[in-house]
């Protein structure tokens, strides 16, 4: 066992024991604790939990690499702005009001505000989005175990499954929340320490915000010598209009993702929900403002060390990543030296054709400490951070799956007479089943997972955001309007994505609209559909309009309480002719 492996094993053992200890301390025995942690989580802790929930293997492991390598700098800004800007929408437009409404899940709001058809569409959307996402997390766990501990990928995923099973099934939302607070702490320390160390190494200035400019200038110079577009040059990869479309799809998608929204239900009060959003974005911004720096520094180090290196004298870190297949190299011009002229290959298959080297986005953060020659404990810490990011997001998604099955389907549709204990049991069984499927998908990832994760945002933007937003801000948005809007937005977006994606039909984009940006157009269609259809369909009952009115003010109001407890008359709330509820 190498020194790096030893340190990784030590950090993984310490952090995993911590998670299990927290889970044991916060085990729950009722559905309120299981779904929303009893609704009593203080705002800073809730914010840290949202941040850990949000920052997945994609944010921690892949994002800096996507920005620096596959998007060549500026093009990657869509992820930085999109995945943070959505929180402004959440904080101002959704979180406080949904908290006041007081339910357990997103489909719950949709079903109560509109009708049962809309609830079912929402349940299906929530399940699809969450399963797609969680498969990626389990895959990330496998990569970290494989590379840093030399463990078989399958075994790595199984270890991850066992840990998540333990704290999610036992503690539900309460266990997940407090574990996520610990996981946020681990992942942010693991991200900041190497960034600061590399920044100090490269420029003598440990503050990455201040050294960023110097590194960018040097990187621009290096890339110019190699004939690559300048790193800071705008619109070299993505046109202006597509930058706007993709950024907007990611922003509105972020605000519509069920596993993020559900976290605001755990806040103690409306005011606590607002503060949770503030803390969440603050904690997220720490990593997101560092990501462009670590991406640029890693790329600089990479080009600096590898370009012109004889093929048989490559550094050790380079060789280990080649061994696990995440760097592909070919001396295609046969001069026994690695040439980076012309840049990096877009895919592993292009190596030898357009360029001599392909770098998988996933290694940029994980390899950064080794590339910069930092000591083994830091390398181990980064591995533990990657695991924390993947596990915390996986557990939040599993909770959405579990509560959708146990609350929205089993309790609300199949067996409304179920006792607390029974609902809890169904929730735990659903959680166990979901972990099993997620693990399976992590071990045998379907080829299109990476593509579909980015597309999940488009689907969330086109389906959830408009109906949640109008459900609060427009009292006259009708049930039929919402169901129609969701159906139009979702099917338009999904069909266009299937039409253009290489794994499906692979047709050329229409008018140059990228499949990752089409969610913005789907969202606009959804809004228009609700607006038009609502003009001709039965208005919400006076009582429902009064409930929505009440949701707009913080503080306690008897009407909203009565609604949340289900003591209001169904006929008065949803209209006389409605017999579709159990």
């Amino acid at each position: 066992m190498s020194e790096t492996q030893l340190w990784t094993a030590i950090f993984v053992a310490i952090t995993f024991s911590l998670y299990i200890w927290i889970a044991y301390r916060s085990r729950v025995s009722d559905t309120k604790g299981f779904y929303v942690a009893g609704g009593g989580i203080p705002a800073p802790a809730n914010g840290a939990a949202v941040a850990a929930d949000w920052m997945s293997a994609a944010s921690f492991i892949s994002m800096a690499g996507i920005i620096a390598f596959s998007q060549n700098g500026y093009g990657g800004s869509v992820f930085l702005m999109g995945w943070t800007g959505g929180y402004v929408l959440l904080a101002l437009l959704l979180a406080p009001y949904l908290r006041k409404f007081g339910k357990y899940t997103v489909p719950d709001f949709v079903g109560d505000r509109y009708n049962e058809t809309a609830r079912l569409i929402a349940v299906v959307c929530a399940l699809v989005i969450s399963f797609v996402y969680v498969a990626g997390q389990m895959g990330g766990v496998g990569v970290v175990f494989q590379r840093f501990l030399g463990v078989d990928r399958t075994l790595g995923v199984v270890i991850g499954m066992v840990i998540v099973f333990f704290y999610a099934v036992l503690g539900g939302m309460k266990g997940i929340t407090w574990t996520q607070v610990a996981q946020y702490t681990v992942l942010i320390i693991a991200y900041i320490i190497p960034v600061v160390a590399i920044s100090a190494n490269l420029t003598g200035n440990p503050v990455p915000y201040l050294s960023f400019g110097e590194i960018l200038q040097q990187l621009n110079g290096l890339q110019q010598d190699l004939g690559i577009d300048a790193y800071t040059e705008a619109f070299t990869r993505t046109s202006m209009i597509n930058m706007v479309l993709i950024t907007a799809a990611l922003m509105f998608g972020t605000a519509g993702l069920p596993h993020v929204i559900v976290r605001f239900y755990t806040a103690k009060s409306v005011r606590a929900a607002r503060y949770s959003a503030l803390w969440a974005l603050f904690f997220i911004s720490l990593l997101y403002t560092m990501a462009p720096a670590i991406g640029a520094m890693s790329k600089f180090n990479f080009i600096d060390q590898i370009n012109g290196t004889p093929v048989d004298e490559t550094p050790g870190w380079f060789n280990t990543w080649v061994d696990v297949g995440l760097i592909t190299v070919s001396d295609s011009n046969g001069n026994s030296v690695i040439d980076l002229a012309g840049g990096f290959a877009a895919t592993a298959a292009d190596v030898g054709v357009t360029s001599e080297v392909f770098v998988n986005n996933d290694i940029v953060v994980l390899a950064a400490p080794e590339i910069a020659g930092l000591p083994a404990p830091i390398v181990g810490l980064v591995a533990a951070g990657g695991l924390a990011a993947a596990l915390s997001t996986a557990s939040g998604l599993l909770l959405v799956i579990s509560s959708s099955v146990a609350n929205d389907i089993y309790y609300k549709r199949i067996n409304p007479a179920a006792s607390e204990a029974r609902q809890l049991l169904v929730g735990r069984i659903a959680m166990g089943g979901a972990i099993f499927i997620a693990g399976y998908l992590g071990i045998n990832p379907p080829g299109f997972v990476a593509e579909v994760v980015a597309l999940a945002f488009g689907l969330a933007a086109a389906s959830f955001f408009p109906i949640l937003f109008l459900g609060i801000f427009w009292k006259k948005a009708t049930a039929i309007g919402a169901a129609a809007g969701m159906a139009v937005g979702l099917s338009f977006t999904l069909l266009y994505q299937l039409w253009t994606l290489p794994t499906f039909f692979g047709n050329d984009p229409i008018l140059g609209i990228p499949p990752t940006g089409v969610g913005t157009i789907g969202m606009i269609l959804n809004l228009l559909t609700i607006f038009v259809v609502s003009q001709f369909t039965p208005k919400p009952t006076p009582l429902m309009q009064k409930v929505i009115e009440d949701v707009r003010y913080p503080g306690r109001s008897e009407l909203v309480v009565a609604h949340a407890e289900g003591t209001l008359s169904e006929a008065e709330l949803h209209g006389e002719d409605r017999h579709d509820r159990p």
């Binding site: 309120k32 609704g39 920005i67 700098g73 500026y74 990657g76 800004s77 930085l80 702005m81 943070t84 800007g85 929180y87 402004v88 904080a91 101002l92 406080p96 007081g102 339910k103 357990y104 915000y209 201040l210 960023f212 400019g213 110097e214 960018l216 200038q217 800071t232 705008a234 619109f235 202006m240 706007v244 950024t247 907007a248 922003m251 239900y265 103690k268 009060s269 005011r271 606590a272 607002r274 503060y275 959003a277 503030l278 974005l281 603050f282 911004s285 997101y288 403002t289 462009p292 009115e549 707009r552 003010y553 913080p554 503080g555 306690r556 909203v560 309480v561 949340a564 407890e565 289900g566």
Partner: protein, 92 residues
Amino acid sequence: MDAQQRQAYWRENLKLMAILLTIWALVSFGAGIVFVEQLNSVSFLGVPLGFWFAQQGSIVVFVLLIFVYVKMMDRLDARYGITEYEQEVHHS
């Protein structure tokens, strides 16, 4: 709160939201994308300004926007005598 006060409260809330969301769109879609090339001729901390907005600046502004929002809403609530907001709201 009576009906008139409620209306006034809601209108102030909407006005605050409109102002903050305008700034939100200006820093991200404006400075970060549409006007990025013009702004890149200026440099901030050694980084071309448009690029800085796209990669770091907009995120910093987003945090400040939510900060201003929660503080202003606290003041708005206090002015309209909403004091029970710390009280736990229900769940079903």
